[in-house]
């Protein structure tokens, strides 16, 4: 099938000709167009082409300036002063000033906005926001009730909507949502539910100088229109790609390459990301509360073989909550538990395990999660551990995870850019958050300290210690970090995934 040859847009002086449209794929429709509220990964990914926050994430996951050109922190760590970039303009033509920043931040702090990260600034969070004010037209001052080194990292989080700065015309007079008027390289065009989301290039976008860097640097729109087509079925998406009615599929499981492997008219790319596939263990369970049984199970799991088989060689075996591609993944984190089935048998015998079935919950939603359960069950059986797999559909799985109602559960976590967030997936008070698996005072203290410390050396030491404790105490077994597989048509240029797994379609063009 011949694809229509696009007519090149009239290039502005000095710029390369732009293609009229680039078509990417979403495997499910956006949940909402209001950043950081009702959301999932697809929603975050698309909206971050439209909106930007004061800060964002660099390619290596660290925090970098976005709408703020620089900032200063008071000596006691409580007051942040942001200098805004004067050249930034909203999609409706209004210039970015401190007034809009103050309005946006205050809006997020209101409970009725339902900002996903509100609880980070609540009673159990990192700090409370005491005041947000404009000290002049291009300076904003935020005052916290205590020092919080994680403040900027939180602002930059994709699942917080990057704490996007929006123009007040995004909402009605009564506060109800209309559409995002942001500052990004693209603006929201037509959103036809369950069919496509159309983004149009914003000609007056002021890109940060320099090459493409995370979701902050060098965000040049090389096409006039981005269209995200909603295609839930992978085989339909593959067919569309081959047929030429789709340009980019930027997230496939290894098993989904069927039929298109090795085609010359497609480019394939695999980039390790900061996600986490893990075997959670309920340490409150009468059987699993015994660390010997947990250790025995852990000793049977050959993470390397498991990873190679399940991810078809694209993933990285890892026993630490800090993902392998993270800059914080050093020698301590790279330690892999040595498989020892004989030792596992001995420990089991000593613990008095009687061979009774232990439930292992998984889901088919993610084929890698499902396969992991099958492999773990077989590996554990070698030492005599009797695991019974219970395959739940996604809502039931989520419910059981959230309430901690399981013995063993295979779970996959989406990318976290900071180790405190990665450890935070496991560490917590089970009475408040029953989904957390690691509930020892020492772990909670260490995590607290890491959250409060700004000194990078001290933080790394804490992370190393936590990683070692994690291997010892076995509240869970981390299995591997996967890679983001993307397939694009040969005519697509400049497509590059990065370890946060967020899609990036700026800097991507069509020949």
């Amino acid at each position: 099938m011949l694809a229509c040859v696009p007519v090149r847009a009239r290039a502005e002086a000095g710029e390369p000709p732009r293609a009229p449209i680039l078509r990417a794929r979403l495997n499910s429709d956006l949940v909402s167009s209001d950043p950081g509220t009702r959301r999932d990964e697809n929603t975050d990914g698309v909206l971050l082409h439209i909106v930007e926050g004061l800060v964002g994430s660099r390619e290596d996951g660290s925090v970098g300036p976005m709408l703020a050109s620089r900032w200063s922190i008071s000596p006691d760590g409580r007051v942040y002063t942001f200098a805004l970039r004067p050249e930034v303009v909203f999609h409706n033509g209004a210039p970015l000033t401190a007034a809009e920043v103050v309005w946006s931040l205050q809006r997020y702090l209101k409970p009725e906005t339902r900002w996903r990260c509100l609880e980070v600034f609540g009673s159990h969070g990192i700090a409370r926001v005491l005041a947000v004010k404009a000290t002049d037209a291009h300076t904003v001052e935020v005052t916290l009730d205590r020092a919080a080194p994680m403040f900027l990292t939180t602002l930059a989080r994709a699942d917080c909507g990057a704490t996007a700065i929006l123009h007040p015309d995004s909402v009605r007079a009564d506060g109800s949502w209309i559409a995002p008027i942001g500052t990004g390289p693209f603006q929201l065009g037509e959103w036809r539910h369950n069919q496509f989301v159309q983004l149009k290039r914003f000609p007056r976008y002021a890109a940060l100088p320099g090459p493409r860097d995370g979701n902050i640097g060098g965000k040049h729109a090389l096409v006039d229109e981005l269209r995200f087509l909603v295609i839930p079925d992978t085989s339909a998406a593959r067919a569309a790609l081959v047929r030429g009615s789709l340009d980019v599929i930027d997230n496939l499981y290894p098993a989904e390459l069927m039929g298109i492997r090795g085609r010359q008219d497609l480019q394939f790319q695999s980039v390790p990301i900061l996600d986490c596939y893990t075997l959670l263990m309920q340490t409150r369970d009468p059987v699993l509360r015994d660390v010997r049984i947990r250790t025995a199970i852990a000793l049977t799991i050959d993470a390397t073989a498991l990873t190679k088989a399940i991810t078809r060689g694209t993933g990285t075996a890892n026993n630490s909550p800090i993902p392998a591609a993270s800059p914080f993944h050093r020698a301590a984190e790279a330690q892999l538990r040595t498989v020892d089935v004989e030792k596992a048998r001995q420990i089991l015998k000593a613990s008095g395990y009687d061979g009774r079935p232990i439930q292992l919950i998984t889901s088919r939603r993610d084929p890698q999660m499902f396969d992991a359960a099958v492999v773990i069950q077989a590996m554990a059986a070698r030492a005599g551990v009797n695991l019974q797999i219970d395959t739940l559909d996604w809502p039931a799985h989520l419910a059981r995870y959230t309430t901690g109602d399981y013995q063993l559960m295979v779970e996959s976590f989406s990318p976290r850019l900071d180790p405190t967030l990665s450890f935070g997936l496991f560490i917590g008070d089970k009475r408040q958050e029953p989904r957390k698996t690691w509930d020892t005072p020492r772990a909670r203290e260490l995590l607290d300290e890491a959250t409060r410390t700004a000194d990078p050396a001290r933080r790394q030491t804490i992370f190393d210690q936590l990683s070692l404790d994690f291997l010892e105490e076995v509240p869970a077994v981390v299995l591997f970090n996967s890679a983001r597989l993307s397939v694009v048509r040969a005519a697509v240029t400049g497509h590059q995934n990065w370890m946060s797994a967020q899609p990036r379609l700026w800097g991507v063009g069509l020949r």
Binding site: A255, E256, M258, G259, R261, A305, L306, K308, A309, R364, P367, F370, D371, A373, V374, V375, Q377, A378, M379, A381, Q388, I389, D390, T391, L392, D393, A396
Partner: protein, 274 residues
């Protein structure tokens, strides 16, 4: 020989052969299988049929032949249990409904029609989701979906024979309703029930495969032909034997059961040609 009789016996022979092969596989599988059907071998995933593995291995290196043999046992047992439950329940309800008539009949038939109005797969899916994915919940779910058919057949048959003389005679001789039902009605409805049972067995086998194909059904790592088929889809281009073997097993088993059912029907009702 009468050509019709020849065909009937051909059916019977073919049916018995296939079903016999199935039973033989299951019996052998109880004492011996080439490999442990659940043991994984991550060094040799997706290997094509060869001397070491007659039917090749799957994505975890598990032997497909052994899994097919265990799958036969699991699928057949599930189907048998489903049929037993559906027949028992359906006969009881159909008997009561057809013999007692009146309000009992109206009530039971409304409930039956309601269950019948649910698409079978969806009803089974919903029930399994509520009860959890285990062998017993699958049996219960499938039996619930098939009971209405049994009820209808039994009720229909009962309605047509309840007017006959020996029933009248029995009642006027003073037998209770239950006694009459048990002693006179039940033996006469056996032939259609037996025929229905063979069809039901085939449907149950097929439905269990369909449910496994859709992702609900017998939990892993236990193999059923249905979940083996379902798992083969991502690997169709590199390991087509994974898609062919389980399907052949299902088709073979169904064919045998259908042929046997046909022969049975011919034998029980010689006027009716198959």
């Amino acid at each position: 020989m009468n050509p019709r009789l020849r065909h009937a016996s051909l059916n019977a022979i073919l049916g018995v052969s296939l079903v016999g092969a199935l039973l033989l596989t299951i019996v052998i599988g109880l004492v011996w299988m080439p490999y442990d059907p659940i043991a994984i071998d991550l060094e040799h995933p997706l290997s094509p049929p060869a001397v070491q593995h007659w039917f090749g291995t799957d994505e975890f290196g598990r032997d497909v032949l052994s899994r097919s043999m265990l799958g036969a046992r699991i699928s057949v047992l599930l189907a048998l249990a489903t049929v037993a439950l559906a027949i028992t329940l359906g006969t009881a309800v159909g008997l009561l409904s057809g013999y007692l008539r009146g309000w009992t009949d109206r009530l039971l038939m409304t409930v039956t029609d309601t269950v019948l109005a649910f698409p079978g797969i969806l009803l089974a899916l919903g029930l399994i989701a509520v009860l959890g994915s285990s062998d017993s919940s699958i049996i219960l779910a499938l039996a619930t979906a098939y009971t209405p058919s049994v009820v209808r057949v039994v009720r229909g048959t009962v309605l047509s024979i309840r007017e006959r003389e020996f029933i009248e005679a029995s009642r006027s001789a003073g037998d209770s309703a239950l006694g009459t039902m048990m002693r006179h009605v039940l033996p006469n409805i056996l032939p259609p029930i037996v025929v229905l049972a063979t069809s039901l067995f085939g449907w149950a086998l097929l439905s269990e495969s369909a449910l496994s194909f859709l992702g609900v059904g017998v939990p892993p790592p236990a193999p059923t032909w249905g979940n083996m088929l379902s798992a083969s889809r991502p690997y169709m281009d590199v390991a087509s034997w994974l898609s062919i073997v389980p399907g052949l097993c299902i088709a073979g088993a169904l064919l045998g059961v259908n042929l046997l059912g046909d022969a049975l029907r011919d034998w029980l009702d010689p006027r009716r040609q198959s």
